[in-house]
């Protein structure tokens, strides 16, 4: 195994000239710790589903970026989030989930209302100068998108809608409230979280690694558009040829039927198919272990067989990706590998993701840009590369 030396990363902002991240950035626990602090503690993270906190008094204890937090719906129906840390001696005020009028520390019984204010402190006689107002639970920013509750440990962070919520809704047209969740599964993968995101951010590997789904795609028409904090892969669905319809999931696509994959930095993804979509959240567990959760949605009523068959179809792709990611994690440990180069045509999404990783790690402030125009004009770029005149752009839904 190679010696691990993590150095500051030089990184070209032009994908055509850039090298990939150094392998040590996927292996070094110190880099992982820094990512937790600089990325996951400063970006919007999924903490729960809205239906887990449906009624006033509902609470849920969970973890974000290694921090214990508790979500509550207060008596006025307002969602709130706090660090799950008692200000007395750092016990926890909630475990699991349920419905309560107050939160009580499991250590010494200090009790807080659902607004985080300290209500009761048993046995505090004799303590001088104690001001309960100074001992409230520490609040955390909370926001929602679709069926999900997000939190951000950075108290100065811009609202979720400004960071990517509005852009996602506008560029994808997805209104998650119109979809119904039908299935959920989690997977533990032996790789660094960035290996999964790198892999997810490009379609370059599809013809080699995903023979099943490759049959559905017109791979010449596979492009990745990038915005400030998200990217979108879109590929037109290919009509089935003579005699091959039985092997196909979407044999007779409409003219505007695309498969799209959305990456919302750093770890929230959406797979969008004509009849279903899945939400895919990556949670780093350690430098070389990653938990992946999938939730499948259908817009219309479907029978169980259709749902099962779609989940199996997606699962096949998923396990193919898991195998690849675990191979790559082992390859990154090899003394034979350090850095690679990108395909400028196919891997601009990976470059976009890795650029954001470095930007967050290196900068105390990461400016917003709410433009809805993709950064790459693929029609012009391709014709520049090929030395041919650009056609009129074709609108993509």
């Amino acid at each position: 195994m190679k010696k691990l030396v993590t150095t500051p990363q030089s990184y070209d902002s032009n994908v055509a000239r850039a090298q990939t991240l150094d392998a040590s950035w996927y292996l070094d626990p110190a880099v992982y710790d820094r990512e937790m602090e600089r990325i996951f503690a400063r970006t919007w993270q999924v903490a729960a589903r809205l239906d887990q906190l449906a009624k006033p008094g509902d609470y849920l204890a969970t973890e974000v970026a290694g921090e214990p937090i508790v979500l509550v719906r207060d008596q006025t129906n307002q969602l709130r989030a706090y660090y799950n840390v008692c200000p007395h001696r750092a016990g926890i005020v909630a475990r699991g989930s349920g419905n309560r009028k107050a939160l009580q520390c499991l250590y010494h019984g200090w009790t807080f209302d659902l607004n985080g204010c300290l209500l009761r402190t048993p046995g505090l006689e004799g303590t001088e100068g104690f001001d309960p107002a100074q001992f409230a639970l520490q609040p955390i920013r909370v926001d929602t998108w679709g069926a999900y509750i997000f939190v951000n440990l950075d108290s100065g962070a811009a609202p979720l809608a400004q960071v990517w919520g509005d852009a996602l809704t506008a560029t994808s047209g997805i209104d998650l409230n119109q979809w119904r969740m039908v299935e959920r599964a989690e997977y533990l993968i032996d790789c660094n979280w960035k290996v999964y995101l790198d892999n997810y951010s490009e379609g370059y590997h599809v013809p080699f690694a995903h023979p099943g789904i490759a049959k559905e795609m017109n791979l010449d028409d596979y492009f990745v558009d990038t915005w400030r904090f998200h990217s979108q892969q879109r590929v037109r669905i290919k009509p089935a040829g003579k005699g091959s319809a039985k092997d196909r999931r979407y044999p007779t696509p409409g003219e505007n039927d695309f498969i799209k994959y959305h990456v919302m930095f750093p770890n929230f993804m959406i797979d969008e198919y004509p009849d279903n979509l899945s939400i895919n959240v990556v949670k780093p567990v350690s430098v070389d272990k990653t938990l992946l959760s999938f939730e499948w949605y259908f817009k219309d009523e479907h029978d169980d067989a259709t749902v099962t068959s779609m989940v199996r179809f997606a699962d096949d792709v998923q396990y193919e990706d898991i195998e690849i990611c675990e191979y790559v994690q082992r390859g990154l440990q090899s003394r034979a590998y350090n850095r690679g180069r990108f395909s400028a045509r196919h891997e601009n999404g990976v470059h976009h993701f890795q650029s954001l990783v470095l930007e967050y790690l290196d900068n105390d402030t990461v400016p917003l840009d709410t433009s809805l125009t993709p950064r790459e004009d693929w029609n012009a770029t391709l014709h520049t590369w090929r030395g041919t005149p650009a056609r009129n752009a074709v609108a993509v839904p």
Binding site: G96, A185, Y187, L291, Y319
Partner: protein, 254 residues
């Protein structure tokens, strides 16, 4: 450190654990687990208490756990105590049709009352656990590693409770093995593997099958990591290429 394996017959091998603990030739030769247990416990009988039911609507009915135990027949060396002060152990039975949340709260109440507590899940038959039971337990304050037993087989649970394996690493090994096999594998993941490959896995799909089982089981194990069972999957396999030949090798992650 290798924690231990589920044997090739597909079940946590308690007898093997007990032989390792006893480590003396005459007991090592005892083939039957119950014989080994009696030898290890010096013939001392076990006194069980059945925690009060939380559901007030059923307070007048005979205790369903007692009904179950009665139907099951007398268990050698075990008696049911009338007074909780006389009991060695609180036994919570998760019966067919029971609400996992209610069972979990029973376990929590028994532990909070200071009882050594064993949980036996007989809701799905003798060879699998209720997939909803461990998440329900994880929603309480119960430290799962402190359970005296977590099993789907009452004889084996009682054997575990009665023997010296109740202390230390061997006991956590027993809890982890029953949990990963009956809850995570039999309760959740096995049906997914069967749906994908059928009962027999072709050689060229073996890598895919092990990847599927390992990643799904690993995610389930993660849910109880902070509750006293900090284990990870080291390797898994399918003997003879068959799904019912599943075996797993766990390792401590603490």
């Amino acid at each position: 450190m290798t924690l231990g394996t589920i044997n090739r017959a597909g079940r946590p091998d308690l007898a093997r654990l007990l032989r390792a603990i006893a480590a003396v030739p005459p007991q090592d030769e005892l083939a039957d687990t119950s014989q080994l247990v009696r030898a290890l416990s010096g013939g001392r009988p076990l006194s069980l208490m059945l925690p009060e039911l939380i559901d007030p609507d059923r307070a007048d009915a005979p205790h369903p756990a007692l009904v179950y135990l009665g139907a099951f027949g007398e268990i050698d060396g075990v008696s049911v105590a009338d007074d909780s002060d006389d009991a060695d152990i609180a036994l919570v039975l998760h019966l067919s049709g029971a609400d996992p949340t209610v069972t979990a709260l029973q376990v929590e109440a028994a532990i909070t009352a200071g009882h050594r507590t064993a949980l036996v899940d007989v809701s799905q038959g003798a060879d699998r656990a209720d997939p909803a039971l461990l998440p329900a337990l994880a929603n309480t304050t119960v430290y799962i590693g402190n359970l005296a037993a977590y099993d789907v087989d009452i004889n084996r649970a009682i054997a575990a409770v009665m023997t010296p394996i109740r202390d230390g690493t061997a006991h956590r090994r027993y809890l982890a093995l029953t949990m990963v096999y009956y809850w995570a594998w039999r309760g959740i993941v096995e049906s997914e593997v069967l749906a994908a490959f059928g009962e027999s896995i072709p050689p060229h799909k073996m890598l895919r099958a092990t990847t599927q089982a390992r990643s799904r089981l690993g995610a389930e194990l993660l849910k109880v990591r902070g509750r006293g069972l900090p284990y990870v999957i080291r390797t898994i396999g399918f003997d003879g290429g068959r799904v019912d030949g599943f075996w797993v090798d766990l390792a401590s992650d603490s």
